[in-house]
């Protein structure tokens, strides 16, 4: 997949657990796991905004484009 989700890296940098992030942004851990594993088909702006707010980062820190 051309878009890589670097949520794991950001979580490690902020020393935050997936469960806590899921709780803060208001999604289930299952959905967060889908997002982390790159299985998600799309990300809502509201979710992205909540993640950026919770992790104090930019969208570019979470999403990365890699040419296949």
């Amino acid at each position: 997949m051309a878009i890589i989700v670097n949520l794991d890296v950001m979580l490690a940098k902020r020393k935050m657990k997936s469960k806590d992030l899921a709780e803060i942004i208001g999604i289930t851990t299952a959905n967060l796991s889908i997002l982390k594993s790159g299985k998600a088909k799309a990300v809502r702006f509201s979710t992205l905004e909540a993640i950026c707010k919770a992790l104090d980062c930019q969208p570019s820190d979470i999403l990365e484009y890699v040419n296949d």
Partner: protein, 186 residues
């Protein structure tokens, strides 16, 4: 929900009625062929079917009717299977799309095969009659008559229903993809 339940009930009634008719017809023909003496006189007259002088061509229409009837039972069974998940409000599973696709193809086959056989039957009968009577005819008028006799409303409707089911199948397949995408949108 009431509409789905009504549809399901009607499909169930149709399916079991078709099964019963098939079973009765099959049993009747078995008895007629092997034990005709056990039948009453008016029913025994049907055994003329097995010893008539016209050859195999006369069997074409009854055989096709039997095949089409069997296929109709299969198509109704597929619709029954397809609508089962509707009751659980699960419209977009693979079972629905495959069942509708197969049922649609069967309805189209029934319609097309009936039209083709009717076309050949009318051609055959017309040739037979003209050869017997030795009369000339207007070619265009004759072809129009043949087409009008062969393409009946029932067969055309069967093809249209089949195409609709194929279309439904495509729509449900597309909807299933959209639902999956929606579920995977975080």
């Amino acid at each position: 929900m009431k509409t789905i339940q009504l549809l399901r009930t009607l499909i169930n009634i149709l399916f079991y009625t078709l099964i019963a008719v098939f079973a009765i017809g099959f049993t009747f023909f078995i008895i007629l062929y092997f034990f005709p003496e056990s039948l009453s006189m008016p029913l025994r007259n049907f055994s003329m079917l097995f010893n008539q002088p016209f050859g195999w061509k006369i069997y074409l229409i009854p055989m096709l009717t039997m095949i089409n009837f069997t296929l109709l039972i299969i198509a109704v069974f597929l619709l029954k299977r397809g609508t089962t998940s509707f009751l659980k409000s699960d419209f977009y599973n693979e079972n629905v799309t495959t069942s509708f696709k197969k049922a649609g193809s069967i309805f189209i086959f029934i319609g097309v095969s009936t039209i083709i056989v009717q076309l050949f039957t009318v051609l055959y009968i017309q040739n037979f009659v003209y050869n017997m009577a030795q009369v000339g005819t207007n070619y265009l008028l004759s072809m129009l008559n043949i087409l009008a006799a062969a393409i009946d409303l029932k067969s055309t409707f069967s093809i249209i229903i089949g195409l609709f089911f194929l279309l439904f199948s495509k729509i449900f397949e597309h909807s299933r993809k959209l639902e999956q995408e929606n579920e995977l949108t975080i």
